[in-house]
Symmetry: C2
Subunit: 118 residues, 2 copies
DNA sequence: TGAGTATATTCTTATCTTCGAATATACTAA
DNA sequence: TTAGTATATTCGAAGATAAGAATATACTCA
């Protein structure tokens, strides 16, 4: 089972391993939207969006329902939003530690100036 | 900044979008291990493991430190383990809902047998 | 120094991913 | 039915990724 679980996880990660698809998931964060709305908000080609949506469907990240002419998309499980939130915190933590490291460096070499030669 | 954040997230997801790399991260869950130990536990080629480790380093998922002859790997941030745990819960939830759906189907068609023709 | 061990890199080949362009399908309204 | 709108699929090119084989680098010990 452990192997199936790893397969499953890597499928999810693959599904999210693209900035456009992350943008889609973030847009869907507060509820369902139609493909057309997503396309308008993303500002990308219809075909391209449709392909990314197909990936998200295939990886079980979103579900869709058809209403007349339109297709509405919805995130399949809140867990995925949690995942994105954790990574946001991680991102800012990383940023902070980078900033602190730079401050540290600046303190240790107080004489250096921007543009100084190596 | 929002764009940088999406880039960052998709980098992380890309790093984890492979079952072998997920296995590595899971092995590192409880603490650092040397490359050699990882290779032994994974049962894969040395060169292959080394490449996956290079990806994990490049995507900022692990950090390494060298001790003499060996290189020890460590997960860079606990947040990533949280992410894997969330997905594990998600996985089992999905499994449950699939099982329930199958039970439902079985209840609705009590006369059908395994192997019955379509 | 030289031999042996641990790990990384490079190269090649096969396979995936992404994008845009073109086309197809499904639905609505007249 | 036909025209129009919304969405999906297919195809081809460019680039990225994965695996094994061969080789290189870095370290230890004698």
């Amino acid at each position: 089972m452990t192997d199936a679980l790893r397969q499953f996880k890597s499928q999810i990660f693959q599904g999210l391993a693209n900035p456009t698809r992350i943008a889609i998931v973030e847009l869907l964060r507060t509820g369902e939207l139609s493909a057309g709305t997503l396309i308008a908000k993303l500002g990308i080609e219809q075909a391209n969006a449709s392909q990314h949506l197909a990936v998200l469907r295939a990886k079980q990240i979103v579900v869709s329902r058809k209403v007349g002419n339109q297709v509405y998309y919805l995130i399949r499980d809140q867990a995925l939003i949690e995942v994105l939130d954790i990574l946001r915190r991680y991102f800012y933590a990383q940023l902070n530690s980078t900033v602190n490291m730079l401050k540290e460096v600046a303190r240790e070499a107080p004489k250096s100036r921007a543009g100084a030669r190596r």
